[in-house]
Symmetry: C2
């Protein structure tokens, strides 16, 4: 057995990165920046793991503070291989003011770094370490495009199709339902009957509105309807799915395994959508994937596709990878490549993401 | 109508306060300090509202960062009377990395300050502003005493009885159930059949263990069994209550209205126990109290008794006030007085707490 690896240092950095173009959706309004928090874990042999998380609407300073003031002390001097034990210690260290919120993001950044370190030391890409099911993962793309004119929506979709994508997600949740229906209809016409179309309402609706919208959209064969209402409302999701007649995707706003358990057991979701950067890291994401499998459900992802490609490649019940990274690829040496609508998990050790920290410096908070 | 009051400034301060004596319970291990974060909201007329929150196990820096970096910008220049609108704006500002965790504590501190300001400007004590049901609130006291010898537990209880208390809470969750049973039996013997005894397991047990413990403790007439297992497990709480035969209290680890809704609707709690400092403030606490009332349930409180006395005095379904404040009374001009086991909501405007900020200075982080 190789000698255990002891954690020597944890470094956290906080950046606020300007978006190339401002984005808007039904809930978050206009977004011009996002917070980006990195965690680097170095062991006593000088090996390093890299993790990161992100947030819109602030919270970056709080996430950074959790790592520096609450979590680093749990890690330093500990055995880096024992990620499950460290995860539990981090969770319970901040349990009283935790159980979700910013600390789930902080734990996520560290957990990703620990998995990266472990995979690097094992000489394996993360997807092989975690399960090694299938490195080719179907991917979908979409814009944060609720407020763009329909012509621009179709133009940009045409561009995605020319790049080889055959699965597209669009935003819905406009003030008038007929607008949503017209835009979905136009997208279905452009895509034809074979390609995959998802729609994301970003929690815009009450339950009755969501049922009405789902019924109105049914004829256009949506693959899933995402976040129709508030993430807390398990009974509401179950009702929307049952009465609306469309499969529901949700999970980007869940920050714990227990939230997925409640929604899955409550019959409110067909496509659980954990985001490792917001639900506590690789450790929690994998548990959600297995929980979904046990319930005969697929698992999809949200954001940070350079990391999620490994996790979806690891598990047998993987659905689509969301390709959406806020333009982070400009800071990466080898961003994920998508060919013919498939992402391929890389064979580099760890997750294989190397960030251009010098280039990020201008955005440091 | 008086002129609206505009928020001119929000000041947040972070202290880490040493406990007079270290505490321990079944989950948090030994605690030597707690984080204390204050929020002061000043309006354009120079009036000021004071709010505060606290945490064990860290998170103070993150809570402070949320106020300074994420929430203050939402408040400055806004109409201070419109607390509900401001609460919603704060919640949604940090929703992506929020929905609980540290931001619920940050919002709580601000929300308390806003209610204090509003009550002061109205010339009313908070309990009158909020409902004015009954200023005399039955109170219970207890130690964080899981690990103290039984003689010390009984001695300290004897002291509480001599101070006029007739309701006492003790910690349970020792490694051997027979120890818990013996300690509860000894406490019941000391208290006699008339006085009230609660027991708090601080999430120590699995569900099956909790059922077994509840059954073993039944003959000693516990008024409630608190936090028998993980706060996320609604079905588990319902099973413990049904099969264990003791009423359950829980809520100090819930950080949103939705968590109370799920537990109440799921039949897992008889004494909802919101803590305004950890569940989003007065605004959420009052909604939980009314939700409980609608379900024919009482409401109790956790911690910060100088604030909670107002809320319990406001509502018709109030159960006991927990008297437990980490020794904060040494920084207060007029700490709450308890007479014959009753706390009396003060008639001073606002919540009536004035903190000795000069005295706190030595603990500033």
């Amino acid at each position: 057995m190789r000698a255990p690896s002891t954690i020597a240092a944890v470094q956290a950095d906080h950046y606020r990165i300007e978006l190339p173009v401002p984005l808007s959706d039904a809930t978050h309004g206009e977004m011009t920046h996002f917070d980006f928090v990195t965690a680097r874990v170095r062991d006593s042999d000088g090996a390093e793991g890299l993790g990161y998380t992100y947030a819109v609407g602030g919270a970056g300073a709080a996430i950074h503070a959790h790592i520096v003031h609450d979590l680093a002390q749990v890690l330093e001097g500990a055995d880096a291989d024992r990620i499950e034990a460290l995860w539990q210690r981090m969770w319970w260290q901040v349990h009283f003011a935790g159980r979700g919120g910013a600390v789930a993001f902080a734990i996520a950044a560290i957990d990703v770094a620990l998995w990266d370190l472990k995979a690097k030391r094992a000489g394996l890409p993360l997807w092989r370490l975690l399960g090694g099911n299938d490195p080719a993962v179907p991917a979908y793309v979409g814009g944060i495009d609720l407020d763009v004119p329909i012509e621009q929506l179709l133009d940009s979709t045409q561009g995605h199709l020319e790049r080889g994508f055959w699965a597209i997600k669009m935003k819905i949740g406009r003030p008038v339902l007929a607008d949503d229906v017209a835009r979905v209809a136009a997208m279905r016409e452009l895509l034809g009957p074979e390609r995959t179309l998802m729609a994301d309402a970003n929690m815009r609706w009450r339950v009755d509105e969501a049922v009405r919208a789902a019924r109105a959209l049914q004829e256009h064969e949506l693959y899933w309807l995402e976040e129709p209402t508030l993430p807390e409302d398990v009974a509401g999701h179950a009702r929307i799915q049952r009465e609306g007649g469309l499969p529901i995707a949700t999970g980007e706003n869940f920050h714990s395994l227990a939230e997925f358990q409640a929604m899955i057991a409550g019959g409110g979701v067909s496509f659980p959508e954990p985001d490792l950067a917001t639900c506590g890291g690789v450790t929690v994401w994998m548990k959600v994937a297995h929980l979904a499998e046990a319930h005969n459900l697929p698992v999809t992802s949200h954001g940070v596709h350079d990391l999620h490609v490994h996790l979806l490649a690891a598990v047998p019940n993987r659905s689509f990878l969301e390709v959406h990274g806020f333009g982070l690829e400009r800071f990466m040496a080898e961003p994920l490549r998508i060919e013919a609508g498939y992402a391929h998990a890389p064979e580099r050790p760890g997750h294989g993401v190397a960030l251009d920290f010098a280039g990020l410096e201008v955005f440091r908070v």
